[in-house]
Symmetry: C2
Subunit: 116 residues, 2 copies
DNA sequence: GCCTTTCGCAACCTTTAGTTGCGCATCAGC
DNA sequence: GCTGATGCGCAACTAAAGGTTGCGAAAGGC
């Protein structure tokens, strides 16, 4: 199944560093590559690259402010991403439940016919 | 927040190819590197490496059967992974809702005091 | 016994995350 | 209005991960 997910979005939020960045941005409201790198074991450049990725898939948006470049989470897009995460999770859950039903059904029918 | 997730697990299911492998294994019940590679635009080797990763984090388990090496999804582990996916999703959702509430509260108080 | 199938190991290529180094722009102080 | 600090982007380099091909070895079919 895997849901017809934008694979770009998935690979964007699949990276643990980028998820942390999103968390930090949500907590602080906004931030720059420099300010965010202060809270992470990463250089400004690395953070900047991740922000560029997140920007490309629309999860964050940058607003230039003087010599700074302030990033902010796009709430609508993040909500969409969150929904997709949950979707994959529940899809697997559903599949597992279905398998369990089938397994139980087989066991029941075996008990009836063979008794082993 | 990002939940104190095993980062290994996340990066395992973060890869779209590996998610597809899980889906295929769930659909077929079990499979080998060779059989799975037939359904994917990948060589057996690539699939084999992915299965090794999934095996290391416990999402699948291998049972040698003659000259074959049959892989099967570990349902308990996958259920755990699904739960973690859903958890991150709902965590973001909750955070977004909280932010929205705050924004609305600010707007309300501004309406009361200033009227602009 | 031979041929096929399936696998694991090793060498290699490419992409991506991360680093360092440099040059340009913007704001603050004097 | 220079001068210095701060924040940024671009470029070159390294390290790891996903992918490929090319072996040789073990298990089955006939």
């Amino acid at each position: 199944m895997s849901t017809p997910v934008d694979d770009e979005l998935w690979s964007a939020i699949g990276d643990p560093t980028r998820r942390t960045l999103i968390d930090l941005l949500l907590a602080a409201g906004a931030g720059t590559a420099t300010s965010l790198s202060a809270d992470l074991p990463l250089t400004r450049q690395a953070v900047s690259k991740h922000l560029a990725v997140l920007d490309r898939v629309g999860l964050v948006r940058a607003e230039p402010a003087g010599r700074e470049r302030r990033y902010r989470v796009d709430e609508a897009q993040l909500a969409r991403a969150a929904a997709q995460l949950a979707a994959v999770g529940t899809s697997w859950d559903a599949r597992l439940r279905r398998i369990k039903h089938i397994a139980e059904a087989i066991e029941r029918s075996r008990d009836h016919t063979e008794g082993e």
